[in-house]
């Protein structure tokens, strides 16, 4: 008899475009991890009308439709599916119960759940019920030499990262921050296995009652989603000089962010605040002008891929964490940069 292959499970949240993307990102990473421990990638989907669901407009696999088709196309070898009217809206209690039963039956090695609001409430309850460990909001996952899942968890606003393992208990569980991994392109000729799991006959009524649920209009996230962010601090010197950042941002097709002192001084709107109490940015390039780098600000910039900081003080915290630290007057560099860009952009 061949031993059953180990499983890496991904919780298949398909409710909205955004949550679905997180699921696809996790499937992609699960596939890489599965190679390292010779495991199968399985998606677990609880919901209703899942076969009528349309994800990608291009989705027309002849054999697999709806959510199942989407997840197979994106890397799942197997999809566990419970489709029932009771599951039309997501419920932490019901989903915990269904998942607990399925985990106890199938004994997966690893479970990955997107760190959405739902995921971050559902995963802890599930881990508790299974008596296993759980790492929150991971920004990296790997398999170490002992075959354990290494979970990179940020703390202190991303200023520290802890590498965490669950050595003995199973499954190993993590919630993963959206955007951490790249989804793989769909492959609609891929095949996989579908395991339909019936709803248990005696499913208790939810103790938490959903009275009303409205879809919120998607908030505009210009600053959060910008590929280029130009941030300014008090070091720029004046409101007028700060205003120059808008010209620079326009040339770069980016958005302007500000520190708290600048917002307080009314050089910028509160909407532009980049910080723990404001917006978190994750641009390809972050320009930082005259910012000393208080931890509340840097915590909101940690996901920037490349940081170019300008400050007269080479020892400012922002300069220390920059990829390029320019020791000079922030306002002068801003002006020179604008001139140079105008020459170069045709």
């Amino acid at each position: 008899m061949i031993a059953k292959k180990r499983h890496i499970w991904v919780f298949g949240d398909y409710r909205n475009y955004f949550q679905n993307r997180v699921t696809l990102q996790l499937l992609s990473r699960a596939k890489d991890l599965a190679q390292k421990i010779d495991a199968e990638v399985c998606a677990v989907v609880f919901g209703h009308w899942t076969d009528e669901w349309v994800g990608d407009a291009l989705s027309h696999n002849p054999t697999f439709c709806g959510v199942v088709g989407e997840y197979i196309a994106h890397g799942a070898d197997k999809v566990y599916l419970t489709d029932h009217p009771r599951l039309a809206t997501y419920s932490v209690e019901t989903y915990t119960l269904l998942m607990e039963r399925l985990v106890k039956r199938e004994k997966p090695e690893i479970i990955l759940i997107g760190a959405t609001t739902f995921g971050r409430e559902f995963a802890p309850r599930l881990a508790k019920r299974l008596g296993t460990g759980l790492t929150a909001d991971c920004i990296g996952l790997d398999i170490n030499g002992e075959g354990l899942l290494v979970q990179m968890a940020p703390s202190f606003g991303g200023n520290l990262v802890a590498e965490i393992v669950t050595p003995e208990r199973r499954p190993q569980m993590a919630t993963v921050r959206p955007g951490t991994f790249q989804e793989i392109p769909h492959d609609y000729v891929r095949t996989g296995k579908v395991v339909k799991v019936p709803l248990p006959k005696s499913l208790p009524t939810d103790r938490v009652r959903l009275v009303r649920s409205e879809r919120c209009p998607q908030r505009e996230q210009k600053l959060e989603d910008a590929k280029v962010v130009v941030c300014g601090g008090r070091g720029l010197g004046s409101k007028k000089k700060f205003a120059k950042l808008f010209e620079l941002a326009d040339l770069l097709g980016g958005e302007v962010g500000a520190t708290r002192p600048v917002v307080y001084a009314d050089w910028a709107d509160h909407d532009a605040l980049v910080g723990q109490a404001g917006k978190h940015v994750r641009p390809q390039i972050l320009f930082s002008f005259g910012i000393s780098g208080a931890i509340q600000h840097t915590a909101a910039c940690n996901d920037a891929k490349f940081i170019i900081a300008v400050n007269k003080n080479p020892n400012a915290a922002m300069m220390k964490r920059a990829d390029v630290a320019i020791v000079s007057d922030a306002s002068q560099i801003c002006t020179t940069l604008i001139q140079e860009l105008k020459r170069r952009i045709r």
Binding site: T117, F118, R125, A153, S155, P167, E214, P283, M319, R344
Partner: protein, 276 residues
């Protein structure tokens, strides 16, 4: 009378951290402590319920002896009593073990509780897991990320933003909520409260034995997760320093990084050799 329990945690004051970005080391023992902001919101939510519907509030924390400070703060703000869980054996607990410890202590010091309130997340470890796991441990309904709470009789009505949904939920007590920092604000400590907190504060301190905890199931020993390594993601990052006249600096910036900047904005920023 409504019996409320507010779980609070002392966290290092983030702006005052004795913190070395080069090595990523953090001297937590030197850091000044404060009540975690979301815990203050949870306390504020409880105080508002007390003001309108009546009730009594027990503030409970697990931590080193100095965590007593935030219990006094909670009493100064209007909590009726404080419970400090402190024991070296409890140290190094992961979220599951923390919720186990809190659950057993709450059952002991506040039997027949109605509503437990926690901050949705703490500013140090940021897991947001203890609240939901505490509800699980106590086998009561729970709702996380709550923006607004209203208690009427033995029912709580809650509002929250969950992913792209604005939800209104209800549950019967006993139950647990974790509170966001959105609607509940921090109040100032009243002078009378200060007196209450220091003159006649009702604070009990319990160790693992007093709660009746199994030493194998608490602290670092009982935790399923193990920390292998802690590092600063920014430490060891290549840090290129440019100095000199602004014009020269900007030229250098483009010489070395025109691809990078151009790539991000979707423009070719290379200078035409002819136009130089």
């Amino acid at each position: 009378m409504l019996k409320m329990v507010v779980c609070i945690k002392q966290v290092p004051m983030v702006s005052e951290l004795p913190w070395d970005p080069a090595t990523g080391t953090l001297q937590r023992d030197l850091a000044e402590g404060m009540m975690n902001p979301a815990c203050r919101s949870a306390l504020d939510a409880a105080l508002r319920i007390k003001e309108t519907a009546g009730g009594e509030i027990t503030a409970i924390t697990m931590g080193p002896p100095m965590a007593e400070e935030i219990l006094r703060e909670a009493i100064a703000l209007g909590a009726d009593r404080g419970v400090l869980l402190t024991d070296r054996k409890m140290a190094g607990a992961d979220t599951s073990v923390t919720s186990h410890t809190l659950a057993r202590a709450i059952e002991k010091v506040c039997p027949g509780f109605d509503l437990i309130l926690c901050g949705f997340s703490t500013s140090d470890s940021e897991t947001a897991q203890v609240g939901p796991q505490l509800a699980e441990e106590l086998d009561i309904p729970g709702v996380a990320y709550v923006d607004e709470i209203e208690v009427s009789g033995h029912t709580v009505r809650m509002q929250r933003h969950s992913d792209n949904f604005l939800e209104t939920l209800e549950m019967d007590l006993p139950g647990l909520v974790t509170v966001t920092t959105g609607r509940y604000f921090h109040r100032h400590v009243p002078l009378g409260g200060l007196q209450a907190a220091f003159a006649e504060a009702d604070i009990v301190s319990l160790d693992a034995a007093a709660v009746g905890l199994d030493p194998e199931r608490i602290g670092v020993k009982g935790s399923a997760t193990k920390i292998l390594n802690v590092y600063s993601p920014t430490a060891g990052k290549k840090n290129i320093v440019l100095t000199g006249a602004p014009k020269r600096i900007v030229e250098q910036l483009f010489e070395r990084f025109d691809d990078k900047i151009g790539g991000a904005i979707g423009q070719d920023l290379k200078m035409d050799k002819n136009s130089k």
